[in-house]
Amino acid sequence: MRFVLIALALLATPALAQKAKAPPAPHPGAEVYQNICQACHMANAGGGEGAGKIPALAKNGALEAAGYPIMVVTGGKGAMPWFRGSLTDQQIADVINYVRTHFGNKYRDKVTPAMVAEMGVPAPKGGNRGE
């Protein structure tokens, strides 16, 4: 619970600095998370386990070095496909920033699209599906 409160406080600060009545703008990465990531990592970022495991992103120490999520989101890992090409570098930066500051994560350094462009894995060519 303590983590959640801190996260809320961080979110609320810029909103207060603007106009008193404006509702806090949703984090730009939240929508990407909901539309893509939570298909596997779940709405609460808790992941899941069956025959194999989908890692939890909540309170995930592996997210500390920003280069790691940049590599995984752009290039994929194991069962997880690459998202370079289907998401823009801006969207990738947004969603990484979102996850790294939510779900019990509190990494303050920001990922920028330029970092994604520089450190990201290029999309493979000729990917296909059977159907």
Binding site: G78, A79, P124
Partner: protein, 534 residues
């Protein structure tokens, strides 16, 4: 056909020759002969492998009771091996699967659905149709007594919806297709009149093409696609042909070509031209899961269910598989001389596999696709009763991408299940991220564009499967690309000491049951050879 007919003073037909070769030399040679004569290029299946002569007492452990695993077990048992299958689920079939009324399904994340479909109704969450050229699968369906029926893929009476044309009103596939062909034929004919094709063909050929276009596009005497009896025989009449006083039909008007262009109808027409979607297609009577059950009957007593594999060792001149019983938590090991592993790479990449570094890298190199399927049960077949849509698919540019009407049980009363969503691309992630109930509601909302006043009103209940949250695969199918094929495919399929992989991921018929079957047959044939040489 026999020798006498061949000697009866005329040249034998190609078919007679093939039959003679088949009778004399068996299917493998027959297949080669067919290839030479320009046939059979639609399959690599050359008949069952007919393995024999296993060294007595040789054991094989098969991981996974999907189609690849069960077929491997069946054929290897026939060859004389002692076979044990370990399966994570509590049922056979793997991705070959149907959800019936009374079934319970819990996805990753813990959401549980209790399926409430009426008896006989089902959703096929995974495979749902079988192309005519998937000869290996068809062979085993027949051999194992699995009854098939036609699967209706293309239906001219079904609907096509796009927000970009006709003000968002769904139109008949039949009308759009006819108007597309008609308009293209008229334009091309005009191009010939304007001598625009003079540099491409002789005058004589241009004339022949013009006549062909008239026939193909249902053009009138003046090479125009107009309101006519001829065109209406394709797109339908304003007043259909009848009997008696008002029997005379009234032709219909074509839609403006701009609207036809906006509809994107050619994409759907082209889909049906793909060899994987051409008629004839099949489905098992009673749901796709009948194939898994039929295969399971062949390996009766050999499957150990609820076993989660945690490691595969090849030390000490044997294979040792460690597995945990998901019910009791008991950890067991199974030893064998060889292992056929059909575990999807999405899961296998998380298991401790004792293999060459090359195979290890290959297992980790292939991500999995995602898709969501939603089954919606309705009180009655209003699509049949009210709209004469019998099977087939209505297409939309909404996230659900299509709805498919049941190909089985046509013309019957009572509830029936429509495939209410089959998502692709980003929509799959969006749908998978919802709760099952949200997916069903979204599918109902989006699909209601096809049948307003019926779809929501006569809805009973649904079921939804998001493949990224399926506990035994964590995804849909292996996603290869040019680079990974080049770098890893041959290593992935090669026998690695005592281990060989099989499944759709070890094939170029990715995401189809046929790929699993062909991969399995190839893998066990090579494994058997390796075992005899050892």
């Amino acid at each position: 056909m026999n020798g006498a007919a061949m000697g009866a003073g005329r040249a034998p037909t190609r078919r007679e020759v093939l039959r003679a070769i088949g009778m004399m030399a068996g299917t493998a040679v027959l297949y080669q002969a067919m290839e030479v004569l320009g046939h059979a290029r639609e399959t690599q299946f050359a008949g069952p492998p007919n393995l024999s002569g296993a060294r007595p007492g040789t054991k094989v452990v098969v991981l996974g009771a999907g189609l690849a695993g069960m077929l491997a077990a069946h054929e290897l048992s026939k060859a004389g091996y002692q076979v044990q299958i370990l399966e994570y689920n509590n049922r056979p079939g793997g991705r070959n699967w149907s959800l019936y009324g009374g079934d319970t399904y819990t996805e990753l994340g813990g959401e549980t659905q209790k399926v409430g479909f009426a008896p006989g109704n089902y959703l096929n969450p995974g495979p749902w149709r079988i192309p005519y050229h998937h000869r290996a699968l068809l062979h085993y369906c027949k051999a194992f007594g699995i009854k098939l029926e036609p699967f209706i893929q293309m239906n001219h009476q079904a609907l096509v919806h796009t927000s970009k044309a006709f003000g968002g009103k769904p139109m008949r596939y039949r009308e759009l297709h006819a108007d597309w062909d008609g308009n293209v034929a008229e334009l091309l004919s005009k191009a010939i009149d304007n001598r625009a094709l003079d540099s491409a063909m002789t005058k004589e050929d241009a004339d022949r093409l013009r006549m062909a276009l008239r026939e193909w596009g249902a053009l009138d005497q003046d090479f125009k696609y107009t309101r006519s009896y001829r065109a209406s025989r394709r797109r339908g009449f304003d007043r259909p042909q009848g009997g008696g006083v008002l029997g005379e039909p009234i032709p219909s008007d074509a839609y403006p070509f701009k609207d036809i262009m906006d509809s994107g109808i050619w994409r759907i027409v082209a889909q049906h031209m793909n060899i994987d979607h051409q008629h004839s297609m099949f489905q098992p009577v009673g749901g796709m899961g009948m194939i898994g059950r039929g295969f399971a009957r062949q390996v009766d007593g050999k499957i150990r269910y609820n076993q989660k594999v945690t490691s595969i060792s090849q030390q000490g001149g044997k294979v040792t598989v460690t597995h945990t019983d998901t019910g009791t938590g008991a950890v067991n090991t199974t030893e064998a001389d060889y292992c056929v592993c059909t575990i999807p790479l999405s899961v296998l990449s998380q298991i401790d596999v004792d293999c060459s570094p090359g195979l290890d890298a290959a297992i980790r190199a292939v991500p999995y696709s995602n898709s969501v399927k939603v089954g919606l049960e309705f009180k009655r077949r209003f699509w049949e009763e009210d709209e004469a849509i019998y099977g087939g698919i209505s297409f939309t540019d909404r996230e659900i991408s299509m709805i498919s009407y049941p190909s089985g049980g046509m013309h019957s009363d009572g509830p029936a299940v429509v495939l209410g969503a089959y998502t692709f691309g980003p929509a799959s992630y969006k749908f998978a991220g919802m709760t099952p109930e949200q997916r069903i509601q979204r599918a109902l909302e989006q699909g209601s564009v096809f049948h307003p006043g019926r779809y929501k009103e006569e809805f009973i209940g649904g079921a939804a499967v998001a493949w990224s949250r399926v506990p035994f695969t964590l995804g849909c199918c292996a996603m290869w690309n040019e680079d990974t094929r080049k770098e890893h495919y041959q290593t992935l399929v090669a026998v690695d000491n005592r281990l060989v992989l099989a499944g759709e991921h070890a094939s170029y018929v990715g995401c189809w049951m046929e790929g699993a079957i062909l991969s399995s047959l190839d893998a066990i044939t090579r494994l058997h050879k390796r075992a005899l040489e050892a």
